[in-house]
């Protein structure tokens, strides 16, 4: 190499003649060009690794991580997505500035580098370990000693964390788990980790661990209030939505409570591109949101009244396109794919006539299997009721007739359904339909055409869902009733009626509704509504959603590319579903897993139920006398008893003891034990924990939180968490002295504080949960581990890869839980713990034959003697499960034999995996170590677990997809396997998805098709292939006939107002200066959760660098608040202190506090609590909606994250005032 000339020497080139050209116009510059290398080196790196971000961002963008000198230096968008096809915009550019900032965290001061334990606790532990040889005795000596337990629980959230080593922490955690299992029951060890799709192996790690030790996993989708219960109600599907590129296929898009450019940043370009193509965009949003800027029309709806707007639009659409004219496309769609033509019985309620339930085969004395689950429709060809195929009854009668072909399953005659009975009616009858608005609960008297049918010798009126719906929406059909003659009459649900409620101009409503329908006619259904958290976090979210979704079904847009609903709230779609599910629930080894619905758990564990003030009788339909119960919690007890919802902790006795007692009484076989348990329950010798949640034997004891920020971001009712679950200082301004008293739950005068013995948090950043945890374990970041990610928004599965080894003492979640599993197995071995059997219950599950357990939508409570207590039918299933804690680690690290032995699949479809399981052994490698796992596929490494997931899932293994379709062919007698056949030979490997993003294979795990490069849109296989929806009629449901739906007046979509809520009932803190009361909303933050965390320095610099609350300028002026003033925002649930952002963008009456603004950043004190001013969740408390608890009834059956009460937090009001003195509490 030539010696480098010194810069100074090079500079001395004045004397050299210059080469000039073009008459001196240009010249050659000779000189040092080394300086250029500085810029070259800036972008040089040692390696590039593909990874992504697991932050519950629907983006799930693929990123290149650049490493230089062993340090992650920056990240950049991957640009190798497969094309979306000709005439389509591609997925790139994909990735936003938030994602690009992530590498900051790796080396940030917030990084959790070592295991930490609260000092008070570790001292107690070390002291106890000196006294006791047996760690369980040591643990007992701490947690059962009130003084000791209180001392460390009270210290939660107050710092004092000290480093500990992995070995010591593992033993402590293992002792807590084992002590809890043996003393109180394994269902007192709880696990919480949300959104598996955002890093599915990390989720599965803990979930597998919990399942092996018998600990319940908590659901999150419903708890986050992101689950739209309307989806299972309408389609029997959790949530299935189009990928973002399908927006481009739409011709008319409404963004309704969804702020696309803000919360779906990497996908928003499709919306812009669709506009260039000519798609009309309408924004429905109370505030001038970013998405409003995309729109041609803006419907500025009063917050929470979206249901009224949607009902009025439905009124216009039904009137224009069904009543005034017949649109062949709509009519065919309605008859084939919706429950419009199904017959509904009417019944007398007092002197009134009301809609009752579907007319079933049994009613007409038709003898067929499951005849209580086979609703009828009227066949024009035979002029009689017909029994169509595809109903819930045919799904489970194994006759292979579960399809949407309009054929009578009994006679094989073709059915030409009538949409409504008008014209062929026997008479018209007046019915009453429940009506609600902010001031009244009343009934609407509407007319329906009916046919008279004789049932058991009694004359019964029967009408159709279509007729009921037209009556419900108040369409004037010329048969009388309380209906409006024109859109300008104020009568439910006309455009004029909604104007007073929503504030939207009636003419705009009429215009948009007509356009929406006409567009669907012109394009065969390419009308789309993008919905989101803006309308989903309300107490009545399902009512709002049903009103909105009805619009797309009415115009035949659902199941059409470019049409239908598009609900985006988080990274919900886990594409390789079966493989992940198998590993996460450890069903390769044993079952059933304990899958608890999160909302119910937290409602009771944090004692929010003790503060209930909303009487259910204020919410029920006027058509019923009063609510079944006044207290929402009683409904939850009912749901637990009847097997509707899971309920862990289950009994007031350890499941091990229950089994041992059964055994002592001579019952050992599972069925016998189940009968024994049922009898014990009926005799009240055994009770459900939920009936006495404040009894110490029913407390949750150990809680593992990973990939989550529970005590801050998602803990609605934050101060209740602090007081009751954690037992530390809190800012609750509420008391339970004169709250509602439940009738099914034991009331204890003294509410417990500090139920939890041990809170274990796995995280890479020190956030709210870490600060309140007893043990914090340092987790690897997304650039330090192997994992997989998938999303609704695109059809790819992205890998995570370690760009650098986990620094300091951090480990991947997989490795941490492996270590904990080892800790438990080692401790169990040391203690010579024998295998034990325990009694486990599980609810009546959706997509199993148990979804037809409780027919006709009637509620029969065995505890009231209304029926016999039969496990798996009128009450939960009762199982006996054997656990051997010595084997937890061995089972964790290998794929168990059940995969090859048991039927495998999901969504009610199953097939054999014998060959695939054998293949997995060869492909992944087997365990060589002696013991139970010898010779089984070895998944000790997270990468091998990824490999197993891809191999064992129908979306990523073509052979399985074909098998799954064949299995469904058997149930439906349809020809389906062509959907996957062209890709049968494909098997995704980790290396492949690493090399380039790859579109998943069409499988019945989801309802849309990607065949031939088609863009994913949900339910297209239902529409095109005639696969039934998993509902009672097999069609999309407008009508839900469960008894509890009727109790709350929600058989059909309707408008339900926001809950009445005042900031205080009594003991209001004295007024100080000017104050204002506003509706408190916690929408998504631009520079925070769902794309990156709020506490990242790059994020904090983008806005005001601390907590903020947005309010309208006039509201602010009224309260004497100026922009950037510190304000107190409080109600009886707690206080939060933030800076005011005063803006004309926000309408009056609302305060926006964007959620997940972490408490550890810039929060001063408040005099109200004499403490630091809370989190965005401090003023919140959840409200339970009983209709979300229904179970054992077709699509209204429990599934984990599929159905269950939502943790809604929007129907709340707060007082806001200026914080006169800002005290940082630093002295």
């Amino acid at each position: 190499m030539k010696k480098k000339k010194s810069p100074l020497w090079q500079r001395l080139n004045y004397l050299k003649p210059k080469e000039k050209y073009a008459d001196g116009h240009s010249q050659l510059q000779v000189g040092d060009r080394d300086w250029e290398n500085v810029y070259r080196r800036r972008w040089q790196h040692d390696k590039v690794v593909r990874s992504t971000h697991g932050v519950n961002c629907t983006g799930s963008c693929s990123w290149n991580i650049f490493v230089k000198d062993g340090i992650v230096t920056w990240e950049g968008q991957s640009i190798d997505y497969p094309s979306t096809g000709p005439d389509m915009p591609d997925f790139e550019p994909r990735g936003c500035p938030r994602g690009a900032s992530f590498s900051w965290y790796i080396y940030s001061p917030l990084r959790v580098k070592y295991p930490y334990v609260r000092k008070k606790l570790i001292h107690l532990w070390r002291e106890a370990r000196e006294h006791y040889d047996n760690p369980l005795d040591a643990w007992k000596s701490i947690v059962e000693n009130k003084e000791k337990a209180t001392s460390y629980k009270k210290a939660r959230g107050k710092g004092g964390l000290v480093r500990a080593d992995w070995k010591e922490v593992t033993e402590l955690v293992a002792a807590s788990v084992l002590y809890t299992t043996l003393t109180y029951g394994s269902d007192r060890n709880i696990g919480f980790s949300p959104i598996p799709a955002m890093s599915m192996v990390s989720h599965a790690a803990g979930s597998r661990f919990m399942s092996l030790i018998g600990g319940p996993m908590l659901s999150f989708y419903d708890w986050y209030a992101d689950l739209p219960p309307a989806s299972p109600q309408i389609w029997g599907d959790q949530t299935d939505v189009p990928e973002s590129s399908d927006w481009y296929n739409s011709a008319y898009i409404m963004t309704w409570g969804s702020n696309v450019p803000l919360t779906r940043t990497p996908d928003a370009h499709f919306l812009a591109e669709a506009r260039y193509k000519g798609t009309k965009v309408v924004s429905v949003s109370p505030d001038y949101a970013e998405s409003t800027k995309f729109s041609d029309d803006w419907m500025s709806v009063r917050q929470g009244t979206d249901g009224a707007l949607a009902m009025a639009m439905g009124h216009v659409i039904l009137n224009e396109f069904y009543q005034k004219q017949t649109v062949p496309y709509f009519e065919k769609y309605a008859k084939t794919y919706t429950d419009f033509p199904f017959a509904v019985k009417l019944k007398n309620q007092g002197d009134r006539l009301v809609a009752d339930r579907f007319l079933h085969a049994k009613d007409l004395g038709i003898e067929t299997t499951n005849n209580e689950w086979k609703p009828l429709m009227f066949n024009k060809l035979t002029n009689d009721f017909a029994l169509p195929q595809g109903t819930m009854g045919t799904r489970w009668d194994k006759e292979g007739k579960w399809n949407l072909n309009l054929i009578d399953e009994r006679t094989n005659e073709k059915i030409e359904p009538v949409l409504g009975f008008l014209g062929i009616e026997d008479s018209c009858q007046e019915i009453e339909i429940a009506y609600f608005d902010a001031s009244t609960r009343s009934t609407m008297k509407r007319m329906v055409p009916v046919k008279s049918v004789e049932i058991d010798g009694e004359k019964v009126y029967v009408t159709s869902v279509y007729d009921l719906m037209l009556a419900n929406y108040g369409i004037d059909r010329g048969i009388g009733g309380q209906v409006a003659e024109s859109y300008d009459e104020i009568e439910a649900f006309t455009p004029a009626w909604q104007e007073a409620i929503t504030g939207v101009d009636r003419n705009l409503v009429i215009k948009i509704a007509k356009e929406f329908g006409q567009n669907a006619i012109d394009t065969n259904g390419k009308s789309m509504i993008i919905v989101g958290a803006g309308i989903n976090h309300w107490f009545h979210s399902d009512a709002i959603y049903r009103a909105v979704v009805n619009l797309v079904i009415m115009v035949g847009a659902q199941g059409v590319n470019g049409g239908g609903w598009a609900h985006y709230v988080g990274q919900e779609k886990l594409r390789p579903a079966e493989g992940w599910n198998t590993i996460a629930t450890a069903k390769d080894w044993q079952g059933p897993p304990k899958l608890q619905n999160g909302t119910s758990f937290f409602y009771f564990a944090t004692d929010q139920w003790r503060y209930e003030e909303t009487s259910m009788s204020e919410l029920t339909a006027k058509t019923v006398d009063k609510a079944r119960y006044e207290h929402a919690a009683d409904y939850n007890v009912l749901a637990a008893r009847l097997g509707w919802l899971p309920s862990y902790p289950t009994f007031d006795k350890n499941g091990i003891d229950v089994f041992n007692e059964a055994k002592a009484s001579g019952y050992e076989k599972a069925e016998d034990v189940a009968k024994y348990v049922a009898k014990e329950l009926v005799d009240r010798k055994l009770s459900f924990s939920i009936e006495d949640p404040d009894n110490p034997v029913n407390f949750p004891r150990t809680l593992f939180v990973w990939r989550a920020n529970l005590i801050s971001s998602s803990g609605k009712g934050h101060e209740y968490f602090l007081k009751h679950l954690l037992g530390t200082s809190h800012g609750l301004l509420n008391d339970d002295e004169d709250s509602l008293r439940p009738s099914e739950i034991k009331w204890r005068e003294q509410a417990p504080e500090g139920k939890l013995d041990l809170l274990v948090d796995l995280d890479f950043r020190m956030a709210g949960t870490g600060l309140y945890s007893d043990v914090i374990l340092p987790a690897a970041t997304w650039y330090e581990k192997h994992d997989l990610s998938s999303t609704d928004m695109h059809p790819f599965v992205h890998p995570f890869n370690p760009a650098v080894a986990s620094p300091w003492e951090s480990k991947s979640d997989w490795d941490i839980f492996k270590a904990l599993a080892k800790g438990i197995s080692d401790l169990a071995t040391t203690l010579e713990l024998e295998p034990f059997k325990e009694v486990v219950t599980s609810p009546l599950l959706h997509d199993t034959a148990q979804e037809i357990a409780q027919p006709l939508g009637e509620i029969r409570d065995w505890s009231k003697g209304e029926c016999e207590a039969i496990p798996g039918k009128t009450m939960p299933n009762v199982h006996v499960v054997e656990r051997d804690y010595k084997l937890v680690h061995k089972k964790f690290t290998s794929l168990g034999p059940n995969i090859g032995k048991n039927p495998y699949g999901g969504k009610g479809i199953s097939w054999s995996m014998e060959k695939e399981y054998e293949d997995a052994k060869h492909a992944i490698g087997t365990v060589e170590e002696k013991g139970i796992s010898k010779g089984l596929p070895n998944i000790e490494k997270a990468k091998d677990a990824c490999e197993a997931i891809l191999r064992l899932s129908s979306t990523t293994n073509g052979k399985l997809a074909v098998k799954a379709w064949k299995a469904l062919e058997k149930q439906t007698s349809l020809s389906l396997k062509d959907l996957a056949e062209e890709r049968e030979e494909e098997l995704f490997t980790f290396e492949q998805v690493n090399a380039q993003p790859k579109t998943v294979i069409t499988s019945p795990a989801f309802s849309g098709s990607e065949k031939g490069g088609r863009r994913y849109s949900p339910f297209t296989t239902n529409i095109e292939k005639m696969i039934p929806f998993r509902t009672i009629t097999g069609r999309q449901s407008y009508f839900l006939d469960h008894e509890m739906m009727k109790e709350f007046g929600e058989e059909m979509a309707t408008y339900k107002p926001m809950l009445h809520h005042t900031p205080f009932k009594k003991d209001r803190p004295p007024v100080e200066g000017k104050e204002i009361t506003l509706n408190y909303l916690t929408p998504h933050n631009k520079w925070s959760i769902h794309s990156m965390y709020y506490d990242a320095q790059p994020m904090l610099t983008l806005f005001r660098g601390g907590p903020t609350i947005w309010l309208n300028k006039d509201d602010a002026a009224e309260a004497g608040i100026e922009d950037n003033d510190w304000i107190e925002c409080f109600n009886r649930n707690g206080v939060v202190v933030a800076r005011a952002v005063v803006s004309h963008r926000i309408p009056r009456t609302i305060a926006f506090m964007h959620h997940a603004q972490d408490r550890h950043i810039q929060v001063p004190g408040t005099n109200l609590t004499k403490n630091r001013g809370g989190t965005h969740n401090s003023p919140t408390k959840i409200h339970m909606k009983p209709t979300h608890m229904i179970g054992g009834y077709a699509q209204l059956s429990y599934g984990f994250n599929y159905y269950g009460p939502t943790g809604n937090q929007r129907d709340l009001h707060v007082v806001i005032r200026k914080l006169e003195e800002v005290d940082w509490l630093e002295d």
Binding site: S6, P7, L8, R11, K20, Y21, A22, G24, H25, S26, Q27, L28, Q29, V30, D32, R33, D34, W35, E36, V38
Partner: protein, 229 residues
């Protein structure tokens, strides 16, 4: 003449010169990237526009005056028939306003550096030291000028100037400095200090005035790096 005078006016100048020249060479060789005027214009514009322009105009005029007074031998003026009194009047008429312009400009720059938070936070010690030393240099120079309005027969063109020129031709004449008024001495000593830190601060930008740019062709071609010789 005592040892102190020898030391101050015979030895130190060479030490300072060595540091000054050597420092620049060292800095240029080792710190190409730091060779910069370190503009902070994007952090604050208004004060800079006023202060910097005033200072630079003032200092250029001051430098011009120094050139005429120190480097140009007194004999040149004598031969042109410029009397001492005439020279003195001209020097003061231009020198005092220039000095005042420079020191006000500098004052604004100092105020800016210390009071604008963004500027202060991004300042190195050198940035502040430069301003401080410049202030001492200009203030002492200006005070020397003021105190020399009635010169009492003192003419730096016959004392300081030949001494200064002598340094560069290695004819050290410290004795010329012995009768120089103290305020001029302070000014010179301040300059020693300033020159000693100069190469290690942003002052290096003085030698990077892009003079060649004025004569450059419009279009520039560069040789590929590997063909450079």
């Amino acid at each position: 003449m005592n040892m102190l005078d020898w030391f101050l006016w015979g030895i130190i100048p060479y030490i300072v010169l060595t540091i000054f020249i050597g420092g620049h060479i060292y800095r240029y060789q080792k710190d190409q990237f730091g060779w910069s005027s370190k503009s902070s214009e994007f952090l604050e514009k208004k004060l800079l526009r006023v202060g910097s322009l005033m200072f630079h105009f003032g200092i250029f005029m001051v430098l011009g005056g120094h050139f005429l007074g120190i480097l140009v031998p007194v004999q040149v003026y004598n031969s042109l028939g410029v009397t001492e009194h005439q020279y003195h009047i001209i020097a003061l008429t231009f020198g005092i306003p220039a000095g005042i312009l420079a020191i006000i400009g500098l004052g604004i720059l100092m105020y800016r550096r210390l009071s604008v938070k963004k500027i202060l936070k991004t300042s190195s010690k050198g940035d502040i030291a430069v301003l401080f030393f410049l202030f001492v240099v200009i203030a002492s120079g200006l005070s020397a000028t003021f105190l020399n309005i009635d010169s009492h027969g003192f003419d730096y063109r016959t004392t300081i100037a030949p001494w200064f020129r002598g340094i560069f031709i290695f004819r050290v004449q410290p004795e010329l400095m012995s009768e120089v008024p103290i305020w001029f001495k302070i000014h010179l000593i301040a300059n020693y200090a300033f020159a000693s830190i100069w190469p290690f601060t942003r002052m290096v930008h003085v030698f990077s005035f892009p003079a060649r740019y004025l004569r450059r062709s419009y279009v520039i071609y560069k040789k590929q790096a590997n063909q450079l010789n």
